[in-house]
């Protein structure tokens, strides 16, 4: 087409009613503003939600209007599409009426042509497909699930998602699904209220003073142990409640073992078959010990029914010994020679006292055994200026709602290893033959026959299946071209032209707006 012919045609078009209306900048502005308002509505209302969500939030009347105006799916509503159509018509009208061949204007031309390209791309994209493919390890699947609006459940009458099955022109086989994790754990301290809900959380920072809302309470993490173990140790103690104790090694047909026994009525060892009971007593004198033999009755009634009972006895003024009772009656008494184990005739069980302590108490201590985060624990100090400061160990990922703290909340120390990657090692089969192998990861989709395959979800419990999103968007190439063209236009318009087209600032007179 010659330039003259084009200009004549353009002039003709400019004079038509439609062109006059649509090429006016006012109309353009009004349309853009309407698109803006409509788009805002779409971000305020939840899109494509379940009907019940809307009824709960906005009531029945609200739901009626939302449905009537398609506010639950603004971007696919007829009126939104209509707006975009008007936008397209207006853009085309402007383009046709304003096009001239000057380089100065070419930026704007590029931008607007490519806006139309993108809009066309969106329309073409509506003919695409989108579905979900679930594949188990060492299995294959070629049928994806596609969601198509809502359908009424024939039994309950409730609306539910309408899911259809679509056969793909290929199959996906999953060889292996792998999750890799970061080595460094995510650690956080949660403060739970009495209902177990988190009211506040902190990153773990040793020595930093943390403040709790509303409570005039300070909180500090004193220690972080990646691999903590509880170690119990019997120590000599002057504390009140310290008791005599013996460390005993026992060798019997039921098993071998060693452990501490306190001289206390509630402390004893009992064989699993409830045939043998061992306990320990400490006497101030030999005389008291003799009485102790008679006072066998002081044991709880249920224990008296155990056929073989042994009492380890030690004390002041006599050698340590083991007393044997049979069916509730004293039978014999073996004194310890200080070296080898004590044995009774006709019995396979031997007793070896390893250590006697006159005043002992059990102290538990928490120690770190490695640098790997296998069983992490933190020690907290907390308190107010009035109550004083308490300290406490909290193990990772364990609730302790019955703690005896004087505070009205619970500490929860969470440790997890964040996921680094989900990888589905897949094979794509076409007509039963392998045509492609791919390690599907987030940000690294596979492409086959116009379909894109994405790592989308996975079996959170057993890691046995992988969820693959399958899409086909025939409009995407247009959108892509539109993006590039639009960028070229914008760069020409705002970065290149100002330099080509520089006018001295002084000559410009601001017109009244």
């Amino acid at each position: 087409m010659s330039k003259e012919k084009w200009l004549a045609l353009q002039k003709q078009f400019r004079e038509t009613q439609i062109a006059r209306f649509f090429r006016s900048v006012r109309v353009a502005i009004v349309i853009i503003v309407l698109v803006v308002i409509a788009s805002i509505l779409g971000t305020i209302f939840i899109q494509n939600g379940q009907p019940n969500d809307y009824i709960q939030k906005y009531g029945d009347a609200g739901f009626f209007w939302i449905q009537l105006l398609s506010l639950d799916d603004v971007y696919h509503a007829w009126w939104y599409k209509f707006l975009l159509l008007i936008l397209t018509i207006a853009t085309i009208s402007c383009l046709v009426s304003r096009v001239n061949m000057k380089l100065v204007r070419s930026g704007s031309l590029f931008v607007h042509i490519n806006i139309i390209t993108i809009l066309v791309g969106i329309v073409v994209g509506r003919f695409g497909e989108k579905g979900f493919l679930q594949v188990f390890e060492n299995e294959k699947n070629g049928k994806m699930l596609v969601e198509k609006g809502f359908i009424e459940n024939p039994k309950t009458g409730e609306l539910q998602r309408n899911i259809k099955i679509k056969e793909l022109p290929f199959e996906v086989a999953l060889n292996d699904f792998v999750i890799t994790r970061y080595e460094k754990p995510n650690q956080r301290l949660f403060i739970l209220n009495q209902e177990g809900k988190s009211v506040k959380s902190f990153p773990i920072e040793k020595g930093k003073l943390l403040k709790l809302p509303k409570q005039k309470m300070g909180l500090t993490v004193l220690d972080v142990l990646p691999d903590a173990r509880v170690r119990e140790e019997m120590v000599v103690s002057e504390e009140e409640g310290a008791l005599p104790a013996v460390k005993l090694k026992i060798d019997s047909p039921q098993g071998k073992g060693e452990g501490w026994l306190f001289a206390h009525k509630d402390d004893f060892m009992l064989s699993p078959d409830r045939q043998v009971l061992i306990y320990y007593r400490f006497y101030e004198s030999k005389k008291a010990m003799k009485k102790g033999i008679e006072k066998f009755e002081s044991l709880a009634p249920m224990l008296k029914k155990i056929p073989n009972v042994f009492q380890v006895a030690s004390g002041k003024g006599f050698e340590p010994r083991v007393l044997r009772f049979e069916n509730g009656k004293f039978k014999e008494n073996h004194t310890w020679n200080g070296t080898g184990p004590i044995r009774f005739d006709g019995l396979n069980t031997s007793f070896l006292p390893l250590q006697f302590l006159e005043k002992a108490s059990l102290q538990s201590d928490i120690v770190n055994v490695s640098d790997e985060f296998l069983n992490p624990a933190i020690r907290l100090a907390f308190g107010t200026s009035e109550s004083g400061i308490q300290s406490k160990w909290v193990f990772a990922n364990q609730r302790d709602p019955h703690s005896e703290d004087t505070v009205p909340f619970e500490f929860y120390y969470s440790v997890d290893f964040p996921i680094k990657e989900f990888i589905s090692h897949i094979k794509i089969l076409d007509g039963g033959k392998e045509v492609m192998r791919k390690s599907l990861r987030v940000n690294h989709p596979a492409k086959y026959k116009g379909y894109m395959l994405y790592q989308a979800s996975y079996d959170k419990e057993n890691e046995k299946w992988s969820g693959i999103q399958v899409t086909k968007d025939p409009g995407y190439p247009l959108v892509f071209v539109g993006f590039i063209g639009m960028m070229i236009g914008l760069i020409l318009m705002f970065y290149v032209n100002p330099f080509l087209n520089r006018k001295p600032e002084k000559l410009k007179k601001p017109s009244k707006g």
Binding site: I29, I32, V36, P213, Y476, V479, F494, P498
Partner: protein, 330 residues
């Protein structure tokens, strides 16, 4: 070490603000301004050092969570202002710019979570580097443009002066309100129904009014408008910086779309952040159409750019807290 860098950065920015203010209001000697610029540059360099340090420490782009992105934003505004003062040889903006930069940085340092968390799979992409940077640079350009529009409107009449003070107060008040409610875990109920959402917005306007009245009187008493550039210059700056940010925001959105096509399986996912970025872009498109075709100038045009800026603030700060979406990585 890292924390010390952050605090010294804040101190330098705040001192530069004081010196710039001193220069603008008390003693207009050029060397005072030069000292202000020196201190400001110091703050800027410390800021840069922190970002580089953070990149080395994390082994990734130092904008993988909200704290880092906010700090990048204030860095971009600082950089834009540095370019600005170099390009226009202007002495009038310093106090204003350094205050805004200080406020954004202080907000990130004191209120956001500084812990280094590893990237979730969706963020492990080269797009993270460019999509975020380009978008944030466009936000920085819009912020500079807003500063010019603010000064322009401030000079026009009492009515415009008050309303532009109110608009700025709203930006500060809205972000602070979100932050306080979020911190106290009270924000969620406001996002649940339309009425409560409206109530929250009404509160933010209330807060803005409370801030704006004393601010208006203080600024008027100081007669800061004496030190603002000429009207035409301010109008021109507003337009130029919108013109700089507009293609960058388009690029940022497009890169986001291309990234989404790789990571989420669709180039547009109706995510609220996507939509709000587009809405902001469209508002600036309206501004540009009015400026370039309808030849709008003066207060009307300046107000359109202010609306664009408010929309940008909502996109950048509001969306993460108020609207559900895929961009909630922080």
């Amino acid at each position: 070490m890292q924390d010390k860098l952050l605090y010294s950065m804040l101190v330098l920015y705040s001192v530069s603000f004081l010196i710039y203010t001193f220069h603008a209001t008390v003693w207009r000697k050029d060397f005072v301004w030069q000292i202000g610029r020196l201190v400001f540059t110091g703050g800027f360099l410390v800021h840069l050092t922190y970002l580089v340090n953070r990149a080395v420490e994390t082994g990734r782009a130092p904008w993988g969570n909200q704290f880092e992105v906010m700090l990048l934003f204030s860095f971009v505004v600082a950089f834009s202002y540095a370019v600005f003062q170099w390009a226009y040889k202007s002495r009038s903006f310093g106090a204003f710019a350094s205050l805004i930069i200080f406020l954004i940085s202080a907000y990130s340092v004191f209120f956001l979570d500084k812990t280094i968390s590893p990237l979730v799979p969706a963020l492990q992409s080269y797009w993270l580097w460019i999509h975020v940077v380009v978008t944030v640079i466009s936000y920085g350009a819009f912020t500079v443009s807003f500063m010019a529009a603010f000064q322009y409107l401030f000079k026009q009449s009492k009515k415009h002066r008050y309303f532009v003070t109110l608009a700025s107060s709203w930006c500060v008040g809205f972000v602070s309100l979100l932050l306080i409610l979020h911190e106290k875990e009270l924000l969620k109920p406001y996002t649940e129904t339309l009425a409560s959402f409206g109530l929250l917005m009404a509160y933010s306007v209330g807060v803005a009014i409370v801030i704006s009245i004393p601010l208006y009187f203080v600024l008027s008493l100081l007669k800061i408008e004496r030190f603002f550039p000429k009207d035409e210059t301010l109008e021109n700056w507003t337009y130029r910086w919108v013109g700089l940010g507009f293609p960058l925001l388009a690029l940022g959105i497009m890169m986001g779309a291309l990234w989404a096509a790789e990571a989420w399986g669709a180039w547009w996912s109706n995510d609220s952040k996507e939509w709000w970025a587009l809405i902001t872009w469209l508002i600036y498109a309206v501004y540009l159409h009015l400026h370039l075709i309808a030849k709008w100038r003066g207060v009307k045009s300046a107000w359109v750019s202010v609306i664009g800026f408010i929309s940008m603030i909502f996109t950048f700060f509001g969306v993460n807290y108020l609207l559900a979406g895929l961009h909630s990585y922080a």
